[in-house]
């Protein structure tokens, strides 16, 4: 397991640089939007990665609620933190693209609002974890994650009622895309997923170590207290 980490790190670095090359050079320039469209190779893979991480967080939270396994909680924490970072990338790159193409930075459209609300829910999740230092934090955070997941379909339907302006999804949405573009897109997604797994892995490991240190310190202070 320990040896897999550097291998994954090298693989990620390779994939990310290949993805960058693909996005900037290999992919053909889009007809109407021009070079601005290339941000798509970062925007869309970030979004997919963020949603995958939020899903991992939900599963880990449910596992924690059922089995009370501290490892599941550490995974939930790591995936939420990294997910919020990727979600922030989505929310920042989106307006940069939208300004020249739509002429506006932001619109209250279905996918934009859903992503923003998801981001808000997960930021409040991280705030809860930060403001609560007791042993009940993992349980409260897991409950919040499950309630947040219940919220997502309701947010979806409430905003679906308005017209949607976002470009239709390129896969499964009936839109057509140049196969070379699709190749670069999927390559970038793979690279981003590897990167996310890498960061989550080290964050998870760090969290486990931090807890071990805390436990050892508590035990030591107990032992020194009883020796006196």
């Amino acid at each position: 397991m320990k040896r897999a980490f550097p291998i994954l790190a090298i693989l990620t670095a390779g994939l990310l640089s290949y993805g960058l090359y693909g996005a900037l050079v290999q992919a053909p320039t889009e007809q109407t939007m021009g070079d601005v469209q290339r941000i798509f190779y970062y925007h869309v893979p970030s979004a997919w990665t963020a949603f995958c991480l939020f899903f991992v967080n939900l599963v880990a939270s449910i596992v924690y609620l059922v089995r009370r396994d501290p490892k599941a909680d550490a995974l939930a924490l790591a995936s939420a933190e990294v997910g919020v970072v990727f979600c922030t990338v989505v929310l920042v790159t989106g307006p940069i693209w939208a300004r020249p193409v739509w002429g506006i930075w932001w619109t209250w459209d279905l996918r934009l609002t859903l992503t923003l609300v998801l981001w808000l829910i997960y930021v409040s999740y991280l705030m809860l974890r930060r403001f609560s230092s007791s042993g009940q934090t993992p349980m409260m955070a897991a409950v919040l994650a499950v309630l947040g997941a219940l919220d997502v379909p309701l947010v979806y339907f409430s905003i679906w009622f308005f017209r949607t302006q976002h470009p239709q999804p390129v896969i499964g949405g009936g839109g057509s895309i140049d196969p070379r573009m699709l190749h670069v897109l999927l390559m970038n997604w793979l690279a981003f997923m590897c990167f996310a797994v890498l960061v989550c892995w080290s964050r998870y490991h760090l969290e486990i170590l931090r807890r071990q240190v805390e436990e050892t310190q508590a035990l030591e202070s107990l032992a020194s207290g009883s020796a006196r």
Binding site: V117, M127, S132, V143, L144, D151, F157
Partner: protein, 225 residues
Amino acid sequence: MSSPQGVTRATLVKDLRLEWRSKDAINSMLFFALLVVVIFSFSFDPTAEESRRIAGGLVWVAFLFAAVVALNQTWARELRNQVLDAYRVSPAPANSLFVAKVLGNFIFVSVLEALMTPLFVVFYNLRAIGPAYQLLFVAALGTWALVVNGTFFAAMSVRTRSRELMLPLLLFPITIPALLAMVEATSSILTGEFSARFWIVLLAVYDVVFTTGCLLFFEIILHGE
């Protein structure tokens, strides 16, 4: 007295009696909502036509902020003299305590709304063009959505540092769809341009989903394990 309904009734009567004697929650909520109304009408200075369009948002934002004042007191009140710990060790079902607290808050916020609505009508020259009786459904369902989530997250935030601050941070993101539904339903009834039916159904679904979710998880939140 030991039946679940008995526990609910006893807690609810106790809370109502406490509130009746001190009037802490309702006074602070009323004054807070009044301040919001006055400040909003200063900053917008709306005409009747325009106010009809924005009133839905104003009314519910005022109620939401005011409700947080009452919701924060729900469990903080029980921390004094370790009442909350007594609940934890007692064999009474956790959910009957939760239902009592939700009902109590529902009554407080409804009283607030009943008292504040005439003020809104006066300050903003409101008159519903659409079917006004639907506003009752919106108010009942919307208040329930606020109160059921608020009571639940107040029980969570009471266990964190800076608990008064934590409640809105937890409550507002999750409540966004309900808030959107309340605002849109109220606006469409006031302007009479659209039907509010979709939003009322959405609110009802939201209430069912979150009431179930909160009842499911309240016990582990109360016992903290």
